[in-house]
């Protein structure tokens, strides 16, 4: 197990974590973007080393978001939105360093608890999922899509985005290697040469998460960077671990909430931190202090969003369903190495599974060590000018898209098409996460659906195949009904006179 821990392996994790923190700390740049941009570098690294780099980027990217959230009141990543509520007021009263360190320790705990859950839960779930037939596999994907859509800010638009993702994924040939008949469909005349294999996953991902984010920034004029004088770390109040006294339950609960939210497909870190924060406030003895610089708020938010990191890998590695947009990108790393993730992955690739667990552990420790002891320097990351960073990222996006299929220029155009589409999605209030998960799962959903009907010749098989199918239908109906009831309740609250 320990033979995989080479100097290169460790360097890639530490380097990835460092770059991830930098990406996370710059508002407008996210962990997903960091993974998207660095994905092509894994091509020549091999799977274990490539994953080491990407997992470092993931953990660093999620953690780095707390820096601008606390120092500037601007979440570096969407998942650190609730960190601003109490972190920024603390920074304003000269407790920036203390708030940052509370966030860093909480991030470490959240990351480690979720890693433990991943290590214990993913192999068990995978062992269970191996027994699934095409019917259950199709229903699992259907369930994933309904959960994801149900938890979208607008359920109807969320479902539409997911189904649109499936539709786009079906463009091209019905893959013979997966049991299809090799015929083209949904390909406009004259584009058969380029679209024979459909749109490649990675240029689509890089476009939606790299180029689209920069276009959004360009649309608002690429806000000027912050000057060093604006970044006040403050050292009036020193940090001590005593601040966690009485908060261990908050820390554990928030980490587990983050992990659970991560397991739900496509929900994302912002939901993890918001649910953790709301719970911490509800169960706090001092709820009135939340939003005014209460350390418990930072603890809940940061342990919640880092809890997501391990949780989001559970469905990916046991079922082949990504838990969030960043883990969807990790599928790209597996695809590059010709490995398919799913129930058989852990059993067939024990070395890679061990490497991932070790990489996540080292990434969390590296994140803590770097951020805890050098937080004053990381605080200055927010001052890096975007007019230098963005062109470099654009160039890296092009490199990524071009090299992913050994040099196909159409992939670069795909990057542009989906970059513009990603920008348009935000204007049309469509959601990128359900779209991308639909895009990834669409081809599998088709195969499982058609093969189920070919094998059994009756549509009732989806309801009667096994008790697992029945349970999945109960969960599907429950998730939709829950979302409808929640939307109705929210509408009633909004309509009530103040």
């Amino acid at each position: 197990m320990f033979e995989i821990i080479t100097p290169l392996f460790i360097s890639l994790i530490v380097g990835g974590t460092l770059i991830g923190i930098i990406f996370g700390a710059i508002p407008g740049m996210t962990a997903t973007m960091a993974v998207a941009v660095c994905l092509p570098l894994t091509y020549s690294l091999g799977l274990d080393n490539g994953l080491a780099l990407l997992l470092g980027l993931y953990v660093g990217g999620i953690s780095g978001g707390l820096v601008p959230a606390i120092l500037l009141g601007i979440p570096g990543t969407p998942s650190s939105i609730t960190t601003t509520f109490d972190g920024y007021p603390m920074a304003q009263r000269g407790e920036g360093e203390k708030a940052l360190r509370i966030g860093i320790v909480s991030s470490l705990v959240g990351g480690l608890i979720s890693l433990l859950v991943l290590d214990l839960f993913a192999p068990t779930l995978a062992d269970f999922a191996i027994k699934f037939s095409y019917v259950e596999k199709f229903l699992i994907i259907f369930f994933a899509l309904t959960v994801m859509a149900a938890l979208s800010s607008d359920m109807l638009l969320g479902i539409f985005s997911g189904v649109l993702g499936i539709f786009v994924s079906l463009i091209g040939t019905y893959d013979i290697s997966r049991g299809g008949n090799g015929e083209l469909r949904l390909v406009p005349p004259g584009t058969e040469y380029w679209l024979e294999s459909g749109f490649s996953l990675l240029p689509v991902l890089i476009g939606l998460f790299g180029l689209a984010a920069i276009l959004e920034q360009a649309e608002i004029g690429v806000p000027k960077g912050h000057s060093a004088s604006e970044v006040k770390v403050g050292k009036h109040t020193r940090f001590s671990f005593g601040v966690f006294k009485g908060e261990s339950f908050n820390l554990l609960r928030s980490s587990l909430i983050g992990t659970f939210v991560g397991i739900l497909p496509g929900v994302g870190g912002s939901a993890a931190s918001i649910i953790s924060y709301t719970n911490a406030k509800t169960f706090s003895k001092r709820p009135e202090n939340f939003g005014k610089g209460e350390p418990a708020g930072i603890i809940a938010s940061e342990s919640g969003n880092n809890g997501l990191t391990g949780g989001a890998l559970v469905p990916l590695l046991s079922l082949g369903i990504p838990g969030d947009s960043t883990t969807a990108l990790l599928i790209g790393a597996f695809t590059l190495q010709g490995i398919q993730v799913g129930p058989l992955f852990i059993g067939n690739n024990p070395g890679t599974w061990d490497a991932m667990i070790i990489a996540m552990l080292i990434a969390n420790i590296a994140m803590f060590a770097m951020m805890y002891f050098a937080i004053r320097y990381f605080a200055l990351v927010v001052t890096i000018p975007k007019h230098i960073l963005f062109p470099v990222i654009l160039m890296m996006c092009v490199i990524g898209a071009y090299t992913i299929n050994y040099g196909i220029m159409f992939d670069v155009w795909t990057l542009l098409i989906f970059g513009v589409l990603g920008w348009l999605f935000t204007k049309l209030r469509l959601e990128v996460a359900p779209f991308i998960i639909g895009f990834i799962l669409g081809p599998s959903a088709e195969i499982y659906f058609i093969k189920s009907l070919e094998s059994f010749g009756d549509v009732t098989i989806f309801f009667t195949k096994s008790w697992i199918a029945v349970i999945l239908w109960v969960l599907i109906i429950g998730s939709v009904a829950g979302a409808v009831l929640m939307a109705k309740k929210n509408r009633q609250v909004a309509e009530e006179p103040v």
Binding site: S44, Y174, N181, L394, I399, Y402, M409, L416, F449
Partner: protein, 139 residues
């Protein structure tokens, strides 16, 4: 009842079944959105006008135009020196510089000089990395 639920899949046309179902579902969902959000859709013209007026047009459209130009020129330039990656290198340097200048707010020598260095060193390093250690041919 049994006959109603029975399905026979013709292998030759099996590639059309799922896309057709998904297209119907997409159409129904689209229709549901149009019915539910009809007021908002009717007022969409105003929303797009506001988006357009609030947009930093030079930066947004400039970034798009430069990116289009960059992608369009890379292959023709690369074809002059085939399999050397020169198309990428020679197009990336001006692209980085131009987008950097476009995104910049104050264009003094102190701001331009670091950008110029990055625009020269960045693509050159990436070109070297992919051409030599990684053996991946760029356009």
């Amino acid at each position: 009842m049994g006959d109603l639920t029975r399905v026979t899949i013709d292998f030759d046309t099996s590639h059309l079944i799922f896309p057709t179902l998904i297209a119907i579902l997409l159409g129904l969902l689209g229709l549901a959105i149009v019915i539910r959000d009809r007021a908002r859709i009717a007022a969409a013209g105003g929303t797009w006008c506001r988006t357009w007026s609030a947009m930093d047009k030079p930066r947004f459209l400039g970034a798009l135009a430069l990116t289009l130009l960059y992608f369009s020129l890379m292959v023709p330039v690369g074809d002059i020196w085939p399999n050397t990656g020169m198309g990428f290198l020679l197009c990336s340097i001006p692209y980085l510089l131009a987008t950097g200048l476009l995104f910049m707010h104050e264009r003094g020598i102190r701001q331009v000089l670091p950008l110029l260095i990055v625009a020269l060193v960045g693509p050159t390093f990436v070109w070297w990395l992919f051409t030599y250690p990684l053996f991946l041919t760029l356009p």
